[in-house]
């Protein structure tokens, strides 16, 4: 039986920030619908790997292939469109736009994709409800709890129906109970929608929500084992 083709793969990625190497030949595969945890100590290259996989930064060497397309071959405009339509990203601090309400934050990716305002807001409201943030539609991020804001950020990441969600320490700024609510919401929604998830975390309890784990050590994927 032939192995299924991964939805997203990276091969031999290297990336340096100035003179400091962040990735040293990292290779990784993500299959459709899979939830993959990328773990590792601080400075092991986790976030840089996520940025390369999501097409946010270009690696110095190596290749990222998404659905048969090499990201390094795509012009910036096409890459930007891919990020907008196929990928969803959520960071440790949700990075909602502080001046916009929760509803407008979630509606924004739809508006950018050309959906009319009324439909975008209606779908945004549905997604906020799915993530248990009903009643906070008109609240601005500063008026919401950390957990509510992060669930709104997840709604924003998923509202366009992405094939891959990139989550960089999504619970890192939350207490354990809020973190649990965020992870449960993320996992249930990803399972229902069939989205794959790349979950960056240093927390084993968060990594345990994933189907599989890879560990980064010094900028490369370590054999299954202990993060030094």
């Amino acid at each position: 039986m032939s192995r299924p083709v991964p939805l997203l793969s990276a091969s031999g990625l290297t990336k340096a920030h100035g003179r400091t190497p962040a990735l040293r030949g990292a290779s990784i595969e993500l299959h459709a619908g899979e939830i993959l945890a990328v773990t590792g100590a601080s400075g092991s290259g986790k976030s840089t790997l996520l940025h390369c996989l999501a097409g946010i930064v270009r690696p110095d060497e190596g290749s990222v292939t998404y659905d048969g397309r090499r990201l390094e071959d795509l012009p910036e405009k096409r890459l930007s469109e891919l990020r907008r339509t196929e990928f969803g990203v959520v960071f440790q601090f949700g990075q909602l736009i502080p001046e916009l309400t929760a509803l407008d934050n979630v509606a924004l990716p739809l508006l950018l994709a050309g959906t009319d305002r009324a439909r975008a807001r209606a779908r945004a409201a549905e997604w906020l409800e799915r993530f248990g943030v009903r009643g906070q539609e008109e609240s601005r991020p500063g008026e919401m709890s950390g957990g509510q804001a992060q669930r709104a950020a997840l709604a924003r990441a998923l509202v366009t129906g992405p094939k891959v969600v990139f989550a960089d320490e999504p619970t890192g700024a939350l207490d354990s109970l809020s973190g649990e609510q965020v992870m449960t919401a993320l996992v249930h929604t990803a399972r229902e929608s069939g989205a794959a998830v790349v979950l960056i975390t240093h927390d084993a309890q968060v990594a345990a929500y994933a189907d599989r784990e890879v560990q980064l050590r010094d900028g490369a994927v370590a054999p299954l084992g202990v993060t030094a």
């Binding site: 992870m183 084993a204 309890q205 345990a208 784990e213 054999p223 299954l224 084992g225 202990v226």
Partner: protein
Amino acid sequence: MIRMSTRHILLGLLASGPSHGYDLKRRHDERFPQARPLAYGQVYTTLQRLVRDGLAEVEGTDSDGGPERTMYRTTDEGTHELSRWSGEIAPPAPFVANEIFAKVVVAILSGGDPAGYLNAQRAAHMERMRELTAVKAAKGADLATVLSADYALNHLDADLRWMSTTAARLTTLTAEVDAV
């Protein structure tokens, strides 16, 4: 696995009223879904010991249309004992007699592969954590299930942190063990 005092757990279940062994076993499994499985035989043996020690007594029998079952109820002494046990502080483990630590040291002493052992142990811990997380994150999971899974997850996580730190210190630990 959660180890508990079966006699006190049964006393606790009897605190809400008389009950028979079959029902106590069923309620135990509902309340402590992640606990070490409790065999029916253990329930009946423990009930007999509670009676012997004056902490419970036989209320009578109940058939409820099925086989005749002996009903038990707690005594005043049983209620007192339960209250004492409930308020007793569990002693924080005073000795480090951890099997994982022992195996790491033995691996060093015998020229084995402590890093390889820690790798494999970590993978087994993560697998168990994924199982427990799936149980607690399942839709409709009740709070007792979530809390007992959380208890196990936090202890496994503590083991993992210790393993990570130990892996990072293996060179120093090997030098120390070899020097003695």
